[in-house]
């Protein structure tokens, strides 16, 4: 898994490539900690380069989403490939996240939060 972090206006962006799985969720937790420490209350995960996400990965996203919510933050997801979207659909997590087709759409909508 590779993560490239960036910031646009008040949104902290993490572009994730590869897999999110049991073997690297601890690394991802560090990335999420960095996002929270950045004081940004809006975090966007661009998943257009994501190849797979397992149950540990989903649990990690949920945990991060809760932590953000606790500090009045918002999590946005963008760029899910149809395969990744189908994984969100079968786990019934599709409705639990703010999902956008593109990073641009997510950034645009983030202004209303």
């Amino acid at each position: 898994m590779q993560v490239h972090s960036d910031k646009k206006h008040d949104v902290y962006i993490c572009r994730i490539k590869g897999e999110i799985n049991l073997d690297n969720v601890d690394k991802l937790a560090e990335v999420f900690k960095g996002a929270i420490d950045s004081k940004s209350r809006k975090v966007l995960l661009d998943l257009s380069g994501l190849d797979y996400i397992d149950s540990a990965g989903f649990a990690s996203l949920i945990q991060f989403s809760k932590e953000l919510k606790d500090i009045d933050g918002v999590l946005f997801l963008s760029g899910l490939t149809p395969k990744i979207r189908s994984l969100f659909a079968i786990t019934k997590l599709e409705k639990a996240f703010k999902i956008y087709d593109t990073e641009g759409e997510a950034l645009e909508d983030s202004c209303s939060y």
């Binding site: 079968i90 786990t91 019934k92």
Partner: protein, 233 residues
């Protein structure tokens, strides 16, 4: 060929290769997406959750890695294992959704789902769909030969079937059903251990215990997800 034309030619070949790889990845992703959505249809019919599919894929992946299967086989197993119950799509609802116990005749109909599922993939040339066929057909076989539909014994049962059999039972044990509570993690592991060499291949059980810490994290992660989903309702 002069130098500049050579570079131009090389760049074109590189681009073609890149486009080919991209197209291959897109086709592979479409297959995987189709498989997940198709498997979900069977889960909906069975009124269970899609989490079962993700758990099966995760447990199978860990076991396969611990057993030293090739990267390619691990990938096939990850994407094809959620298809194990696809044959249930063809089982009549009045049997599949029956809440009280099944009659012996109904049980026989239910036991046809591995063959019905395998028939769906019969004749496919895709290695992934061939794996799905093997998994559907053999995930209810038992190592001691008392399983179904063919009563295969020992290593005659394909490795994919032997792995999915354990993952499927472990998930069934640790999941709540209308007729039973979920077993705890240690209790379920004990049952798996006691079935080593009878229901399950002892090599698969050994691999499962080798990655017990990872299995426990998957088990915990899926419980957290299910808890979160129930809070969302």
């Amino acid at each position: 060929m002069n130098k500049s034309r050579h570079f131009e030619y090389e760049a074109r070949v590189k681009k073609s290769l890149h486009d080919l790889r991209k197209a291959y990845e897109e086709i592979k992703d479409s297959y995987s997406e189709m498989i997940f959505r198709f498997a979900l249809a069977a889960e909906y019919k069975d009124e269970s959750t899609g989490m079962h599919l993700v758990k099966i894929a995760d447990y199978c992946t860990e076991i396969a890695q611990a057993m030293g299967l090739s990267k390619q086989d691990i990938e096939y197993l990850r994407y094809a294992s959620p298809m194990h119950d696809i044959g249930k799509l063809i089982i009549p609802d009045e049997i599949l959704k029956k809440e009280s116990g099944l009659t012996p005749e109904e049980r026989e109909v239910m036991k046809k789902h591995p063959v019905l599922g395998a028939d769906i993939f019969k004749g496919s040339h895709s290695p992934l769909l061939k794996a799905a066929r093997v998994i559907s057909l053999t995930h209810h076989e038992r190592y001691d030969g008392t399983g179904y539909p063919s009563g295969l014994r020992g290593k005659d049962i394909p490795i994919f079937g032997r792995i999915v059999a354990l993952a499927d039972v472990f998930d069934a044990l640790t999941s709540k059903r209308p007729y039973k509570e979920a077993y705890g993690f240690d209790e379920a592991m004990k049952i798996i251990e006691e079935s080593s060499g009878s229901h399950f291949d002892s090599d698969v059980v050994k691999a499962f215990f080798k990655v017990k810490h990872k299995v426990k994290r998957i088990w915990q992660a899926t419980r957290d997800i299910e808890q979160f989903l129930s809070e969302q309702k």
